[in-house]
């Protein structure tokens, strides 16, 4: 009980509340701007969160995460362009409702759906995370190493259309994580040691500049290609009757519950992400509404059901994706991968220890997520006529600002050591350029982040397991849990290959 009150106290103070509110507003704006993603928003605000108290900083990032996920529905409904891939399925019925003159109801419905999905998945998060975390008590080095491997292979196979590209970028992320000094022997481990041994690279690649580069700088370069397309013009619409009728929402209980289940479950599977969840829930809602007994409007005809189903799933992913983050230290998608990086930097070590020794922090994170969802509902409903205006901000203006914000963000982490901080700007730029070319060639960047985050865990536990087994590399096949993880890893690589062969 003491921990619960401590958690409440850490979140419900003016400072933290204001930062969460700010994160929420910034998140909605970022989500509403097509091309800018929740991941980029979190990466850009990481340096700022670094300057704040632990829970305040985490709250700010959770606010950005929730805000950006729900904000993406604004351009999807008004313009037919999703703010990010999470809102792809919202386009169909959202745009149709706008054309019918029901933009206000579509926007309001999307917000209410996002809130319901967010809150229900938060309940799932608070119920399942401790149970899964308890499971990690049985993990030794072999299990931890294979768990890191399974996280990497799943995200590599799911995030790319081409499996080889996913694995290649995952391996690249691991290679970056291994740079610096050996964790056991302190041996120098950098390429071109004559040249780089005297640079801050000896300490390894700093995670935050890497994230800022991969998601901030690369996005700026990528969006520059579309700068000549000019600014988006939000349609001049009369937005009214924003709040959806409660009776109508209540009649959709089955769609809401199923979409929440789909979103939470898909979110909890590492590497899957919201874009799969929204399509599954949309298809499911289509099936429910096309049943002859159903009294609901048919999904696809431009109705609230078609907007709410993907939006519930979309935000249910936020809570679901945090389940493996808090319990296993394996992120559900690129956004939570960055959040995991932030948690690790803030000294939060996911797993059983977090739930047994830092329960106040767990409560604080849950309350921060709850508050983020409440702010999301409040701000989006109050600002339903204001937020669409951000669509008219020209990219010509926005992109240089994001670039500078990325640079200064990378610098601020080691802000007191000017040389090391300037070097971090270089890291962000180099990884930004690499990230840009990878995006151009359709290579996913999420596995790089996961490789960077899990590289240390994988290497330390792999070597420790082999040492403890007296040099026996087959030790990984003697532990049942490790075998399960290896089978999962192999399955995640082989399954896409089988599917591809079947299709061809």
């Amino acid at each position: 009980m003491e921990e619960l009150f401590s958690g409440i106290q850490q979140v419900f103070n003016l400072n933290t509340i204001l930062w969460i509110a700010l994160g929420e507003v910034l998140g909605i704006i970022i989500g509403a701007l097509p091309g800018l993603t929740a991941t980029m928003g979190i990466a850009l605000l990481l340096p700022l969160s670094f300057q704040l108290a632990r829970v305040t900083g985490i709250g700010l990032l959770l606010g950005v995460y929730c805000g950006a996920v729900s904000g993406a529905s604004i351009p999807a409904i008004l313009l037919g362009i999703p703010g990010n891939p999470n809102a792809i399925a919202t386009v169909y019925d959202g745009q149709a409702m706008t054309r019918k003159g029901l933009a206000g109801q579509a926007l309001g419905g999307a917000v209410v759906a996002s809130f319901i999905g967010g809150i229900l998945s938060l309940i799932a998060l608070s119920l399942f995370s401790p149970l899964i975390a308890r499971f990690t008590l049985a993990f030794g080095p072999a299990e931890k190493a294979t768990l890191a491997l399974v996280g990497l292979t799943i995200i590599a196979s799911v995030s790319a259309k081409n499996l080889a590209k996913g694995i290649l970028t995952g391996a690249f992320g691991l290679a970056l994580a291994f740079m610096g000094t050996d964790p056991f022997t302190d041996t120098l481990r950098v390429p071109f040691p004559e040249l780089l041994a005297k640079t801050p690279l000896v300490g390894g690649i700093n995670l935050i500049p890497a994230l800022i580069g991969l998601f901030g700088v690369s996005q700026v370069l990528y969006d520059l290609e579309r700068i000549q397309e000019g600014r988006l013009a939000p349609p001049q619409l009369k937005i009214e009757k924003v709040f959806p009728p409660l009776r109508k929402v209540a009649s959709m209980w089955r769609i809401i519950l199923e979409s929440t289940g789909i979103g939470t479950l898909i979110g909890a599977i590492p590497g899957t992400g919201a874009s799969i969840a929204v399509f599954l829930s949309y298809e499911r809602a289509k099936r429910i509404t096309s049943s002859p007994r159903s009294k609901l409007e048919k999904v696809g005809s431009g109705c609230l059901e078609g907007v709410m189903a993907p939006e519930v799933a979309n935000n249910a992913v936020t809570g679901g994706a945090l389940i493996p983050v808090l319990s296993l230290g394996i992120p559900g998608d690129a956004g939570t991968a960055v959040l995991l990086g932030a948690l690790l930097i803030k000294g939060v070590v996911p797993g059983y220890q977090l739930f047994s020794q830092n329960m106040d922090l767990v409560y604080a994170i849950l309350f921060a997520l709850l508050l983020s969802n409440v702010f999301m509902l409040t701000f989006q409903l109050l600002g339903v006529r204001i937020f669409p205006k951000v669509l008219s901000i020209p990219m010509a203006l926005l992109l240089p600002v994001i670039l500078v914000l990325s640079m200064i963000g990378a610098y601020a982490i080691k802000g007191q050591a000017v040389l090391a901080a300037t070097f971090d700007m270089g890291v962000a730029l180099v990884l930004g350029i690499i990230g840009y070319y990878l995006k151009k060639a359709d290579y996913p960047t999420a596995p790089i982040v996961l490789g960077l985050i899990l590289g240390g865990l994988l290497e330390v536990n792999f070597r420790r397991a082999v040492k403890l087994a007296g040099g026996n590399y087959l030790v990984f096949f003697t532990k049942p849990i490790a075998v399960v993880f290896i089978v999962l890893a192999v399955f995640s690589v082989v399954l896409p290959l089988i599917q591809k062969r079947r299709r061809s």
Binding site: L48, Q51, N162, A164, K165, I167, L168, A171, F172, L174, A175, F178, D182, F184, T185, T187, R189, V217, V220, L221, L224, E225, R226, I227, Q228, M395, A396, L397, L399, P400, V401, L403, V404, L405, M407, I408, Y411, A412, G415, Q416, V418, L419, A421, T422, M425, G426, L429, I433, A441, D442, L458, E459, F462, R463, V466, K467, L468, A469, G471, Y473
Partner: protein
């Protein structure tokens, strides 16, 4: 460490080398698999290509001069240049006279805003100490006052330049200059004044 004396540690090079071979193998596979269609899809329009190259080159230059020139000057100049050319969608020779004039005037404007901000912050601090007004010595309060001053200044400028802004030739210069000044001062207030990040001063000694 356990087992080291028997050589049971796979060694610090084991996993990096394994990753190296994995990447080499996969890259070779992907190079041979890539089709001409995939290569064609990667082409970038000329204007955008110029802007991307400009952004990368200026970012490198920014990092190199950041410590020598200082945060305020280097950031404002980078922002102005990028916004100005992005606004026109390409880098063309006829844009350079406007760019040069805009860069100089925008830099002067940024310096004026920065100087005014420093003056306000210091005055508040001295006043706070002399009269024992604790609030005036707070870094957040002084940042807020400077922010308020900046907002009023920008509002006055926008209202007074309303008619000029509508002329397309000067619009890009004004938009780029005002945005560069506003963002630079805003970042300075947040990172330097509130969070005490040691942003390089460079040649600005005040």
């Amino acid at each position: 460490m356990i087992g080291d004396e028997r050589g049971w540690d796979p060694g610090s090079r084991a996993l990096p080398i394994a990753m190296g071979f994995l990447m080499l193998g996969l890259s070779t596979h992907l190079i041979f698999k890539e089709t001409a269609k995939e290569q064609a899809e990667r082409s970038v329009p000329t204007g955008a290509r110029h802007l991307i190259v400009l952004t990368i080159l200026l970012s490198i230059f920014y990092i190199l001069v950041f410590r020598a020139l200082g945060f305020i000057l280097s950031t404002a100049m980078l922002l102005f240049t990028l916004i100005y050319f992005n606004y026109h969608g390409d880098i063309r020779l006829e844009l350079f006279p406007g760019f040069a004039a805009g860069l100089v005037s925008s830099t002067v404007f940024v310096l004026l805003v920065y100087t005014a901000g420093r003056f306000i912050t210091r005055s508040l601090f001295y006043l706070g100490r002399a009269r024992s007004y604790e609030l005036f010595t707070s870094k957040v309060f002084s940042a807020f006052v400077v922010l308020l001053f900046g907002a009023v200044l920008f509002a006055v400028l926008l209202v007074s330049l309303r008619k000029t802004v509508n002329k397309p030739r000067v619009r890009s210069v004004l938009v780029a200059g005002l945005t560069a000044a506003g963002v630079t001062e805003g970042l300075y207030l947040v990172f330097k004044q509130i969070f005490l990040v040691s942003l390089a001063r460079g040649i600005l000694f005040w």
